[in-house]
Symmetry: none
């Protein structure tokens, strides 16, 4: 494979002149430009854009750290990001981490070594202290509420959102509410659990630790939980579920087992995914698609920005 030096040698000009011709730069004498073009043809030289990017310090690549791509929540977010990026000259590089810290650090190191220009964390396991260390490596954007100089973020106030949903269930006469969350130590889960505990305290109700269900992410997790709750004979009167897939698994399995929703157990989902519409699930609308676009805008801005995202309860038939 011919490189720029081969072209220069054959054309009898400097590498800088070849570079000028390649970039349609003015002030190249006509005979030299012709010699360069002839040499390019003869050597079959292809311009390696990576080399140019290194010079300019711009790769036009935005890294996306995302735990899973096969989950509707994350794929919708990724879709919003990809759509926003598609209106620019940028491309996205996906780091599908499965919450593996090494993969997250790998992404940070690519930012540091200038292989990507910006990095968006859709969700993370790695500590904020580690992220801070890469602060000066390039633009980092987080999808959570942080206050770190130079790092932009968009976030949902999961505390308020959970509080609103719990109040709504309380108004509908539910006093024993269970919550289904994903990773207990995730930033969102911590806020949600706090809202849950504060709600019980504010209503002077007894909280049962066994009513906090963790590790719920996929439809099948909901189906399994429904079977467990049905068999146990010890089910809360309402379930606040942090994603529609799990809520759909709960709903369809309860129905299969002969329970009516909301008569036997009320359910609120989260995300307002298409499946929730089909199943008439009451859920919380989160504009993932728009958030994806917002994150890209933040990744491309030189200023540090911060946005709170509002959520709304969509009342259907499961409460």
């Amino acid at each position: 494979m011919a490189n720029i030096h081969d072209v220069a040698k054959l054309a009898g000009v400097s590498v800088a002149t070849v570079s000028r011709v390649l970039n349609n730069h003015p002030y190249v004498k006509a005979d030299k430009a012709a010699a360069v073009r002839e040499a390019i043809k003869k050597t079959g030289y292809t311009q390696n854009i990576n080399a140019i990017h290194l010079k300019r310090g711009k790769t036009c690549l935005i890294g996306i750290v995302i735990p899973f791509l096969d989950h509707p929540y994350f794929s919708q977010l990724a879709n919003g990001i990809a759509k926003a990026v598609s209106n620019t000259d940028f491309k996205i590089v996906i780091f599908q981490t499965n919450y593996n810290q090494d993969k997250e650090i790998d992404a940070l190191n690519m930012l540091k070594s200038k292989q990507i220009d910006s990095l968006i964390f859709c969700s993370r396991r790695v500590s904020l202290n580690i992220i801070k260390e890469y602060n000066s490596s390039g633009k980092i954007v987080l999808f959570e509420d942080v206050d770190i100089e130079g790092i932009s973020c968009s976030y949902v106030n999961h505390y308020d959102c959970f509080k609103d949903a719990l109040e709504f269930l309380f108004e509908s006469n539910h006093t024993r509410i269970g919550i289904c969350i994903s990773r207990r130590k995730g930033t969102s889960s911590i806020q949600r659990e706090k809202a849950f505990r504060d709600f019980y305290k504010s209503k002077n109700l007894d909280l049962l630790e066994r009513d906090i269900y963790t590790g719920c992410l996929y439809l099948e997790d909901g189906a399994k939980l429904a079977q467990r709750l049905y068999k146990s004979g010890d089910c809360p009167s309402a379930l606040l579920v942090t994603n529609d897939q799990v809520a759909a698994g709960l709903l369809t399995t309860f129905n299969d087992l002969g329970w009516s929703v909301p008569e036997d157990v009320a359910i609120i989902g989260f995300d307002n995914q298409q499946i929730s519409k089909a199943l008439h699930l009451t859920t919380i609308d989160i504009p993932l698609y728009s958030i994806g676009q917002l994150l890209v805008e933040q990744a491309l801005l030189s200023e540090t920005t911060k946005h709170e995202i509002d959520l709304e309860i969509v009342k259907r038939k499961t409460v």
Copy 2:
């Protein structure tokens, strides 16, 4: 070092079957699974893609051309790709095209200018003639049946698969079957429509052109179609639907309107997504996750390879 082809050859099965066994995928016959395990032992095959003799590029980036990321079919495929890549030093660059030709050509140009090492087309609009022009730019892998020198592919025989499903419905006494497809001019749709027409001819049945429903991709498309069919009073006795999302939209909406499935109308979906399990949908299992891994292996091998993927009908409660 043995590769997946050597294992398949020794076991006397397809590469897709080996991939299914490696991924503990269900729906593999016991004797085939045993043969595969025996062949793995004999060849000393290891699934670590890094261990295979790979063509090492300079960017360690693999481009993925994919129309949408927010659709379960494509996101599961992308997930398989991302998972396979995560065992290597490579990263993926996503070209989310929304079937826009310019975006597809953009990806091909990035391959040509060596910004990526390989390019996998999950689905395309751009003509094969254009793709051929980039043949020497780097490794191109297509997820469809093509015979172009230097271009690898994995594919599903959509014709045979549709024929099998139609025969299954015919055995269940359905003689007026409707089909729901996505883009009418997509490569898969063309094969499927041909199978549909050939089936009607072979059974000496009259095909009604209005029983071919196009533009069906999302759950809401199925919901809308169900309402239209219910109101029209002119519904086939069975529907063969090319994705589970649409099938789920049809099923839940028919139920809402008071129709029973399969008594009033039978439904077969496609993909065997989680939603189909929850709704007891009869569907066609396509091992998207394994296919994603296969495509990556093909993208990293220097040889040109071709694999046919087997599909199976998963019989549940909607036929």
